[in-house]
Subunit: 321 residues, 2 copies
């Protein structure tokens, strides 16, 4: 459900109070709402998992634990900006991308975010599944409405990859790498993935949905043991999902603004610092197999491969071996 | 609503009978359905606007007039193929593209067609309206699922333009021209338009909706008098909308098969025969204005313009002045 402004603001207020009590009257004045409304919102917050002590004389006090994972908590730690100004949180969804697409088709604003605690039908690229158990990871989708032709939408995936890599880097013992076009790896194992979907005319994007899954605290199931990892597996430490989400959204906010103001060029420069295959021999399987030396990416985010013949081939879509 | 196979088959049978009666038993045998079912379908057909005489001894006979405009009539004249194998007809829709997108998102097959007699919110390119009065024109949307990257989707618009131009040509006193990227003109006035929308990942199209509006029998309203025309305005003759739709769908069927088998190249060759601006000085307004000599289109359907500097610029999106 949607994280409402009033509840987010109350959590912010209670947090700035540190361990101190804040009176209902103060909250009522700060937010410009009635005492009764404050009392109702406090009830919602308690149901949402916050421990809030209330005393008729002193007012309300937020206990530091437990820190729930929900939309209110995520938004309460976000700076004001585009990404996450509307935030929908669900205990479970089939797919955050599907939900976000529906919201966008219904007119949801740019920057609207969907988070699910777990996904029953998490989507990966090329019709694959994304393993999405509840309670451990981050599954989120973000609606963007950039004024670009669909031909350039791949560059948004790479922009997101930079933002995700930055966020992962803050928690990872080693620098993550990006695997073109949409995975973030730690020591060659998948820690995060991006699925960009869009609705467009042939020359104009109506909206883009950036779907992002990050393996945070997941214990790897046997079938993923050799290909995937999680932050916790690498560090032994539990990551706060709300804190990670805040870091990720502010990173996306930053890079999206760079992208809108200066285009793909500066994003691409940083992306390359996370990309470790340039100059190496690679193999890409797309509509056909392309093999050669990786020459980096072009201005549309396509992969450039120098074939044995010396010719450079542009790969729009494919799977890096 | 959906034109059912049984009703389409009964209309086909009655038409092959010419003016003769066909017995209920014969229809029942041919279609493998009960006599009662035949009787029910005949009732539906009568409600749908067909004049069907019934005599207990001789059977059923279809009178040549009136020829209704509906999904059954359109399908009854189509050869078996992909385009129109599923066909939904509505007296009125907000937009056939919106309806077709919803059907596609719900899993509708490739080739599914939506037709509306009139549209209350007909869509043109770049968020514009498409004038869509009921009773006079053709408004249709076709679901395609080609295995192409979104970067190539513009070529589908141009494929559709060839198919529409061919169909219009069969009724027009002069050869129509195409205006890049999506209009079909008769003597410089808009006779038809195409709005291609798609749902895709950044490197894979999930589905494309080809929206096509053709001005057939419309009397031009004042505000469109200088920019648009209709077949009837040009010829003085009423066009059968069902017949035009059949011709259009079989033209799309043909060109889509060429496109899938041989790519854009052969489509592009024919498109150029309808395009009258190559080699001429043109002005394209997109994200910025580009002026120069038109050098035709490239393999992605983008317009090529040779600037004063001699450099050739590729225009993905824009409006030809």
């Amino acid at each position: 459900m949607k994280a409402t402004d009033a509840e987010v603001d109350i959590v912010r207020l209670l947090k700035t109070g540190g361990g101190d009590h804040i009176s209902g009257q103060m909250i009522s004045l700060e937010l410009g709402i009635s005492r009764t409304a404050v009392w109702k919102h406090i009830g919602v917050l308690r149901k949402a998992g916050y421990s809030i002590e209330g005393s008729p004389k002193k007012g309300y006090r937020l206990l530091p634990f437990p820190v729930p994972f929900n939309g209110i908590e995520v938004r309460s730690g976000l700076k004001r900006g585009i990404i996450g100004r509307n935030l929908f949180f669900f205990p479970t969804l089939d797919s955050t991308n599907t939900k976000a697409s529906r919201l966008a088709a219904g007119g949801a604003d740019e920057g609207t975010v969907v988070i699910a605690d777990g996904q029953s039908d998490g989507k990966g690229r090329l019709g694959r599944k994304w393993h999405s158990p509840p309670g451990v990871n981050l599954y989120t989708s973000i609606i963007l409405k950039p004024d670009i032709p669909p031909q350039q939408a791949q560059t948004l995936t790479l922009m997101a990859a930079v933002a995700v890599a930055e966020a992962v880097e803050a928690y990872s013992p080693v620098r993550p790498t990006v695997k073109w076009p949409n995975d973030i790896l730690i020591e060659s194992k998948k820690a995060a993935g991006i699925l960009t979907e869009m609705n467009s005319e042939t020359d104009r994007v109506n909206f883009v949905v950036l779907g992002i899954g990050v393996n945070l605290n997941m214990n790897l199931p046997d079938e993923l043991l050799h290909t995937a990892t999680s932050i916790k597996e690498k560090t032994g430490r539990e990551v706060s999902r709300a804190e990670f989400a805040q870091r990720l959204f502010s990173s996306i906010e930053k890079w999206y603004k760079v992208f809108l103001a200066e285009g793909f060029e500066p994003v691409s420069s940083v992306w390359r610092t996370y990309f470790d295959r340039e100059g190496k021999h690679i193999n890409v399987r797309g509509s056909r197999e392309v093999e050669g030396i990786c020459m980096g990416i072009d201005s549309q985010g396509s992969l450039l491969v120098r074939l044995g013949s010396g010719q450079v081939e542009r790969v729009i879509s494919g799977e890096l071996a």
